[in-house]
Structure formats: C-alpha cells, structure tokens
C-alpha cells in the first residue's frame, strides 16, 4: 500500500551502507577471495606459495576420506538442524502452554546458549566420558555401553547431542516470540474444536511459524557447519576412525595443525560451496512452503 522509502538521497544511503559494506568487503569478502586464490597454491607458513592450479582440488576429489567427511558433515548438519528445531520447538511449546513459571522455565532452557562452546564441550566430557562421566554409570545401567572413544556412531551421537543442546537456547528465543505472536483466537478455536495439544502444535503453530522456522533453519545450518568446531575438537578430535571428522574441524586442522594453507583453502572453498548449495535449496523450499502473514 504505502511506502517506507521516505528518503531519497543516494549518497546518504551509500554513506549509511558504507560501514557495513567496507567491513564486509575488507574483512569478509576480501579474505574469502584470498582463500579462493590460495586454494590454487601450495602454501604454508614460511613457504613460498607455489602455484599448483587445481591440484589441491584434485587431491580432495581423489581422497575418499574427504568425501566421507563431506557426506558426514551434511548428515551431521541435518541431524543437528532437525534435532535443534524439534527439541526447541517442543520445549517452546511446553513453555508456551504452561500456566505458571514461564519466565524461569525459559531462562532454564536458554542458558546453555550463553555458555562458551569450549566449556560446553568440556562439561559434556565430564558427563559422558566413557569411564569418568557422571552419567556414564546410570546410562550403562540402562544397558547402553558407552564407548564413544572407540565407537564411531556413538561419538557422532555424542557430538551431535552436545551441538544440539548448545543451540536450543538461541532457537527458543526466536520461537517463543513467534509462538506468542500467534493470535489467541486461533488457539481458542482449536481448543473449542477439541484439537489436541500436539496436533495444534504441528498443524496450526508450526505452519504459522514458518518464517521464523526457516530463519532458524538457516542459522542452525550455519551453526552446524561452522559453529560446532569446539565440540569435535574437545570431545573426539574428529575420531574415532574419522567418524566425527566434520569439514570445519578437518579444515581447521589442515590449516592450523598441519599448516597446509593451500589444501585448507581448497577445503574451505568446498565447505563454502556445500553450505551455499544447501542454503540455495532451503531458500527454494522457503519460497514454496513458507507462509507469510498478511
């Protein structure tokens, strides 16, 4: 109907955008471009970069371990995103429905978000360490043998659990706002119709919250790919048998343990492409399924 674009000066607009643009260009785009460039070199500290063309990529292409790392990361991201979204959604819903103590429940569930990832990882180690862990006894009493230093799938689960746990808070923050924004009348109509709680969540709230959920899917995807380094580093170091060797960890180790900047850059380009591709898919889906309020 009407417009918000009330100011005209292009120069002014450019000035306003300048800080963001300059910082983005200088500290985000330019280094990224350099990373692209480095990926065509054999380079490391103290070494004169040597142009090797696509060799770095070729070696990644021919490295089955790396392939599995890519696949692993995608699966890991999928699990983390789905896990974070569904756990947060359910928690948010419970808090939304509860009749008293909302504020305290909220703080209780969002606090891990404030915890530094490295500390989070350390605490997880304390809790789930196969021999020392606080919960190891009780869990093993349930008949699950905790052995994730040797058992790849278990290690994967533990890292994913930690990653999910850490990200719940961020999601709840956004979800609770979205859920509170749903008109009461919709809830009441559903109640009058005898629509069960869970069905209300799934069939009414979730579709209405899609814009928030898609935003969170994007943020969580980025988190799953880029933000989970500390968990892998401190819990499993990518092992056992590379079962948790996700791309970001692999990349970091390549660059800062092995000092192979060329390969590391190629890996970061691949990582970037993988994430970008997933984003593209997600945006496509958003267009298709998201409901935007009137």
């Amino acid at each position: 109907m009407s417009t918000r674009e009330i100011f005209d000066g292009r120069l002014e607009a450019a000035l306003l955008l300048a800080p963001t643009a300059i910082v983005s260009l200088v500290f985000l785009y330019y280094p990224t471009a350099l990373a692209f460039r480095t990926s065509f070199f054999d380079s490391g500290f103290g070494r004169v970069p040597e142009f090797v063309g696509l060799e770095n990529y070729a070696s990644l292409l021919g490295n089955p371990e790396y392939h599995s790392s890519v696949l692993l990361s995608v699966i890991f991201a999928a699990i983390v995103v789905v896990g974070v979204i569904s756990v947060s959604l359910y928690l948010t819903f419970l808090i939304h429905e509860v009749d008293a103590g909302q504020g305290w429940y909220l703080i209780s569930v969002i606090w891990p978000y404030a915890l530094p990832p490295a500390v989070g990882a350390l605490v997880f180690l304390f809790i789930f360490h196969p021999t020392l862990g606080v919960l190891t006894g009780p869990i093993e009493a349930l008949g699950i043998e905790l052995d994730w230093f040797n058992d790849g799938p278990q290690a994967f689960v533990v890292v994913a659990l930690a990653a999910i746990w850490k990200q719940i808070g961020y999601n709840v923050i956004f979800m609770i706002a979205a859920m509170k924004n749903i008109p009461d009348a919709l809830t009441e109509t559903a109640e009058l119709d005898g629509v069960g709680r869970l069905r209300r969540l799934v069939s009414v709230y979730v579709p209405i919250m899609t814009p928030t959920l898609f935003f969170l899917v994007i943020i969580d995807t980025i988190y799953a790919f880029f933000g989970t380094f500390a968990f892998v580093d401190l819990l499993t170091s990518g092992g056992p048998s590379n079962a948790t060797n996700v791309l970001i960890f692999d990349l970091y180790r390549e660059a800062f343990s092995f000092f192979n900047f060329g390969t590391a850059s190629a890996k970061s380009v691949v990582l970037f492409l993988v994430v970008a591709a997933l984003m593209a898919v997600q945006f496509r889906l958003t267009e298709e399924y998201s409901y935007y309020g009137a």
């Binding site: 008109p183 009348a185 919709l186 009441e188 109509t189 559903a190 109640e191 009058l192 119709d193 005898g194 629509v195 069960g196 069905r199 069939s203 009414v204 579709p207 209405i208 899609t210 409901y291 309020g293 009137a294």
Partner: protein, 393 residues
C-alpha cells in the same frame, strides 16, 4: 437445541471484576444479542460460556448439564471471532474440517456431506480451495461461520463477528446471519457493541454495563421502555435527549417549557431500589428533580407535525446535520440542549428560532441519581416479553 442458564456468574481478573453476577437464561433456539460499551464484560461472558475462561463464581448450565467446570471441547459450542480466527495456512476447506477431524466423531463421508451442505448454505463453495489471504473480509467471516456450522454445535457463540467488515458488508452479513439462524434454529449468543446490530439481529437483547446486566428485552421494548438512563442513551442513534426537569402535578417543568405528562405508566414495577411513586397518580408524583428523556425522532418542528396539537415551545437552532433521510437539528432551549429530527430537505438557519413539538406518547422520566426509569408515557409492553428481566443492582 439448548437452553443456557447462567446463575450469579462472576469473573474477576486480578483487580478487575469483568462480570459481576449475571443471571440469565438463553432460551432454546433463541438468537440472543449481548450489547454494551467497550469493556463492559461482553466478551468475558461469552468466553465463560465457551469455557475459555473459568468462572470465579456462579454456575453455567446447558440444558440440565452443569458445564461450569467443563473443558471447552466438551461443551459442544462453536465460537466465531471478530478477527475470524481462520488458520491462515489452510484452505477454506481445511479450515472448516480441521476441527471436525479433531473430535474424530465424524466419518470422512459425513464430513464431506456436511461441508458441502454448509458451503451451500453460506454460498462459499468457491472459497473452499482458497486460503484466507485470498479472501475478502466478508468471505473470511463466512468461512468462519462455515466452520462453526459444520460441527453442528449445541450453541453458537459469536464475538463481534461483523465488526471487522465495512458498513455495506456488515449490513449484508447481518441479513445472512438472520436467515441462517432461521434455517438452523441453533441457540445463539451474539456479542456486539453496535446497537443497530443488536436491534436488528436479536430476538432479545441483553444490555450490559460494567459487568452487570442492565436490561433484557426484545429490541423494540428496549427502545421504547428503557429500564434506565444507561439503556436509554445507549440504544438509539442519535441518543435520547436528557433534560433536567422538575415534576409538578403531572407536568415536567423546565425554565423554558412545560410538558404535561399523560397519565401513563409508572415504569418498571419489578425494578428494585427505585421505589418510585406511580405517576398514574399525578399528585404523588411531584419531585423537584427528574430527568426527562425524549428521543430526537419524537421531537418535531411544529410546522411539520400540526397533528401533534398545541404542545409546542420555542428553541434556538445551533447546528444542522443532514443525514439524507432526515435532518438532525441541534437545538438549545434555556440551559438545555437537545437534538431533533426534521424533514430531510428542511432549510433551517443556525441561530434561528424554531417551534418544537413532541410526541406525548414517547416521554420518559428517570431518577436523577440512580438513573432508573420511573415513568414511560407509552403503554407498557406485553408482560410475557419481560419474564427474563433481571435487575442486578
């Protein structure tokens, strides 16, 4: 088909008493309208009926079930909200069927049949495949009605269902609602703050103020025999004129005029508190302060209604407002101001003097303090209409 009975219903929020002891029976199949100013507790009452709020005190019965503590979904009522409350992401059909599926008490076939029927009734068949976004306000409200209808509830509860629509559409939907009710005959409680809606829709109208029922009556009775000043001023647009007078020997006396009061009825003998003497006995009725109520359309230019006799007085014209079908004339007489209707094409100059006459059959007197009506010059309505009249203070 359900009778709903409220007994001493109360609802308090932290510091507000939203509903303050309602006693009311909604008759089986009746279209009952609850009207009142904003914040008077209409919505709260409706929500209490629906079970969306829990009563602080009192009882709600549907037929012979006490439903005061029953879950909303077990009351078998359907509610229609002001803002339609359609699920924005579902098509019209999904919106209509969503609640039915929940109950699980309908077979697919039955659902289809009912939806088809309701769609037919409401003429929304075309809308079933659209999402609310692609519907106009009226269409949305119709779908919302459809959703209420298909469940075949014991009662419809509607909270200002038309107030988001524009004027034309509102009028049209009003007619459709009447017709719908005639077809279905379901007990309906309808909340509105619009008195025209109340008058045209309700078989009986409940006027609420400040959490209490002020009067329950069929529309025209409400209009003609308001129980108190509040009702008198709330119902009718433009509102009833109120002029401070003294009553002396059956005559309303004002500095600038004297209006003889026909030996009509003392109002409201069931009214508690106002133990007014009947004006039928002119001598007993004298009092130095009373409020005379006359509706603008019961005041006339003397020249337009010579038939009303010699009972005229002079007033000064302040402003005129053309309403199309009439001219609203704002007048003053002495320290009193009032409005009156004149023929639409009359030409009256502000500042000029006009001779005013009145319909002596349509005079009302109210207690200045309590606001209770104690005299209506017209004949009282048939008592049968007034059984449910409840005075709450």
């Amino acid at each position: 088909m359900t009778t709903i009975t409220l007994r001493n219903l109360r609802k308090e929020f932290d510091d507000v008493v939203a509903v303050n002891g309602l006693d009311l029976t909604v008759r089986d199949g009746e279209f009952l309208v609850v009207v009142g100013p904003s914040g008077c507790g209409k919505s709260t009452t409706l929500r209490l009926l629906a079970g969306l709020e829990t009563a602080t005190d009192g009882e709600i019965r549907m037929d012979d079930r006490d439903v005061t503590g029953t879950e909303p979904k077990d009351r078998n009522v359907a509610m229609v909200f002001q803002n339609y409350a359609l699920y924005p992401h579902m098509t019209g059909r999904r919106n209509v069927t969503f609640g039915m599926n929940a109950g699980g008490s309908f077979t697919d076939e039955e659902i289809n049949r009912r939806v088809a029927e309701a769609a037919e009734t409401l003429d929304i068949t075309d809308l079933l495949d659209r999402k609310p976004q692609a519907m106009s306000g009226g269409e949305r409200q119709r779908v919302a009605l459809g959703r209420a209808i298909v469940r075949d509830p014991d009662a419809f509860l509607m909270d200002e269902p038309l107030s988001n629509l524009d004027a034309k559409l509102r009028i049209q939907m009003r007619a459709e609602l009447t017709q719908l009710h005639a077809e279905l005959g379901t007990t309906t409680v309808y909340v509105t703050h619009d008195q025209t809606e109340a008058m045209t829709l309700g078989e009986r109208v409940v006027v609420m103020d400040d959490g209490r029922i002020q009067q329950v009556d069929p529309p025209q009775s409400l209009y003609d025999f308001p129980a108190n000043r509040f009702v008198a001023e709330f119902i009718g647009d433009p509102a009833m004129n109120m002029i401070d007078v003294a009553v002396e020997e059956g005559v309303a006396v004002h500095d600038a005029f004297r209006i003889p009061l026909p030996a009509g009825n003392a109002a409201d003998e069931t009214g508690s508190g106002s133990e007014t003497e009947s004006l039928a006995d002119p001598d007993a009725g004298d009092r130095s302060h009373a409020v005379l109520g006359v509706r603008p359309e019961d005041l006339h230019l003397a020249r337009e209604r010579p038939d009303l006799g010699e009972t005229e007085f002079d007033a000064t014209v302040d402003v005129t407002e053309p309403l199309g079908d009439s001219l609203l004339v704002h007048c003053s007489v002495g320290d009193a101001t009032f409005k009156m209707s004149a023929e639409p094409r009359s030409s009256l100059d502000p500042g000029g003097t006009v001779s005013v006459t009145y319909d002596s059959e349509r005079l009302h007197l109210f207690e200045p303090e309590t606001g209770e009506a104690f005299y209506h010059s017209a004949t009282a309505p048939a008592p049968s209409d007034r059984i449910e009249r409840v005075v709450t203070d």
